[in-house]
Symmetry: C2
Subunit: 397 residues, 2 copies
């Protein structure tokens, strides 16, 4: 495994992951303050604060942690914990800030329940790629399950364009827009992440077993719930905040009025992430939710029609590559227009030849060859032996 | 005729209308300062300022004014001049302000030519309705001639919805979006105005003779050019500013990139009018221009999907009915929500029964009957003998 966390910590997190249903800020705060090993022991002993003990309930008396870790390993997965270098600490920091601010919201459909923007305690992950490496430059494409051919086409095109530019498409693995987005990313040879509301060993919906198998080749299945957990209705709402948090921004491709995709967009906005929407025919019920978002005057949502426009919103060269805190000026700040476009055209994983970069960047191969040395000297790109890719700034497995 | 202007003034304006090709701010300023009779005499004597004399050129030596007035009368029309009560002074004031500010713009296609936002010298009008009465509550629907079935459907629906609410649809009488807009208004029994780039006695395009005949029943044909004038290419650009100026706001329904409809939208914006655009499939070339407008960050354009949303942008009860200068508080300011909706539902021309008002306003007939007495007492609506309509505040023929 990633070798970061102590096995005892990992096992404690595995236990907490099953004992504490995700989404409780009290539980997250308790684990954060006590540490996972002490927190798990307290819950098992029944000495945790009442509020947290109540979240665990009868589950505090059970221990499936060893079996859960074995089950995820059997299907080629692992448990990623905050103590691992693979943990996507930067994207998830938005949830930490939201929880510390006490931000939360009353969900319209469950007015008595405050849905808190709380970080996950651990993430169950299947697939060979690094979670933090994949979500570092990622965009969420979300939308209706009852999508139209138009919406699926656009979701596929956007994901394909993002994949071509080395960006990861994150979605929920569901029918409709989600599936079209994952497929579009895969068609471009780009990575894609499905964030599930059930165990990563389960295939839900069942018809997506072939799709999930393909996602595992290029990307990841991710879940807050341990192996075997069922996709219960309320888990989708909790899951949606994670899709918003992991990514740079959320694009609503097609959504009916008052839909789950709009809810994900609202979570993204509450987390300070970019929110975008794709317009569609005003005669289509599946675009009403998008148009509602685009008509909001006080909380502007960007209208996007292509992957390039999505990246205009979420990706500036400097911000993409530089850690946001350490440097005052980002390494790409002084790049020429052509250099910027070539850099944006570089994939993050598999190196590609200059001809491909020229095609994606919309310039000549001569231009590409002219700017590559400067990009390499600036540590922005690297030669893999078979092609050029973005030089990785964050730790990868 | 409207009986406002002196016959000598009308004849001078008719002469100026042919002698001075519309769109010259120098010419307009000269006429404004000298008065039409003196200005016409000076031009005929060759003593006008060189800049203005140059606009007239050889036309200063000709006089077709009597014949032009006869020709327009023969086809049931008239010349409306600023000295007439029928002159739409309030909407056109936006052009006066723009000219006085020296606002103008270089047209992208003719970079050497400054296209000035100058008021018209006179308007040739065909149709029974009052020009100022019709454009007082009007919206421009503009778009591509090479429209799609989707765009035509939406243009028709928007115009129909505007017509049902007593608003006038203004467009350019062309193929495509223009024709669909006029037809939608007519289908609702609502008034519609076609602003032409040729004489009002001409039918251009020729295939629109039946459409123009129907427009004349319910609305108006309007042109700055005297009878017989041809629809020359550059006249469309000049005409577009008039469409923008006459209306409360301009809706771009479908437009290709860098299209004439976008130009009209820009004119509307420069005149301080509302600019709206209808979204469409991102896969449609005919919606690219709309999406470009909607993606402008610095100069926001409202996304609209229905007539109700258009009226949200252009029509507030107080503003609709009250002259903007004379009163501090508009008569509709203190209306209840239901009363506002009923008032908005009232047509301006033909009275309708309470059942119809209830259907349009989206409330019960009981509600309508409850609020109508208050609206009548406030001089906002009137009973025509067969139904209720908005009480007219501006002079009509």
């Amino acid at each position: 495994m990633s070798g970061g966390a102590d096995p005892e910590v990992r096992r404690a997190r595995a236990w907490l992951s099953r004992a504490l249903e995700p989404g409780s800020s009290a539980a997250w705060r308790f684990v954060e303050q006590s540490g996972p090993v002490v927190a798990a022991a307290a819950l098992r002993a029944g000495t945790a604060p009442a509020e947290v003990q109540a979240v665990a309930g009868a589950r505090a008396g059970e221990d499936a942690s060893v079996e859960d870790l074995r089950r995820v390993a059997r299907c080629g997965g692992r448990l990623v914990v905050p103590e691992d270098p693979e943990w996507p600490a930067l994207p998830l920091h938005s949830l930490t800030l939201a929880t510390e601010d006490g931000r939360g919201l009353v969900d319209g459909r469950q007015p008595n329940r405050t849905l808190t923007l709380v970080p996950p305690l651990a993430l169950w992950v299947r697939g060979a790629a690094s979670l933090t490496g994949l979500v570092d430059r990622s965009v969420a494409l979300v939308g209706s399950r009852a999508s139209t051919a138009y919406g699926e086409h656009v979701a596929g095109e956007l994901a394909h364009g993002l994949g071509e530019r080395g960006w990861t498409t994150v979605s929920g693995g569901a029918f409709g827009i989600d599936a079209a987005a994952h497929r579009g990313a895969l068609a471009a040879g780009g990575p894609t992440v499905a964030v599930l509301a059930c165990g990563v060993d389960r295939v839900y919906p069942g018809a997506h077993s072939a799709l999930f198998a393909r996602i595992l080749d290029e990307g990841l299945l991710v879940s807050e719930w341990p192996p075997g957990c069922a996709p219960l209705r309320h888990r989708f709402l909790v899951r949606n905040r994670l899709i918003a948090a992991l990514t740079r921004g959320t694009v609503v491709v097609e959504a009916a009025a008052r839909s789950g995709a709009q809810a994900t967009a609202n979570r993204a906005r509450e987390l300070g992430k970019a929110v975008m929407a794709v317009p569609g025919p005003v005669t289509s019920a599946m675009s009403v939710g998008c148009h509602q978002l685009l008509r909001e005057v006080e909380r502007p949502v960007a209208l996007v029609t292509s992957a390039a426009e999505v990246l205009e919103v979420v990706g500036r060269v400097g911000e993409d590559l530089a850690p946001p805190v350490e440097r005052e000026t980002a390494p790409g700040d002084s790049l020429s227009d052509v250099a910027r476009r070539v850099l944006d055209a570089c994939p993050v994983r598999v190196g590609v030849p200059p001809e491909r970069l020229a095609a994606v960047a919309g310039c000549s191969v001569v231009d590409v060859l002219r700017v590559l040395p400067a990009l390499e000297l600036a540590d922005l790109v690297e030669w893999t032996g078979t092609g050029w890719r973005v030089r990785r700034q964050s730790p990868r497995r």
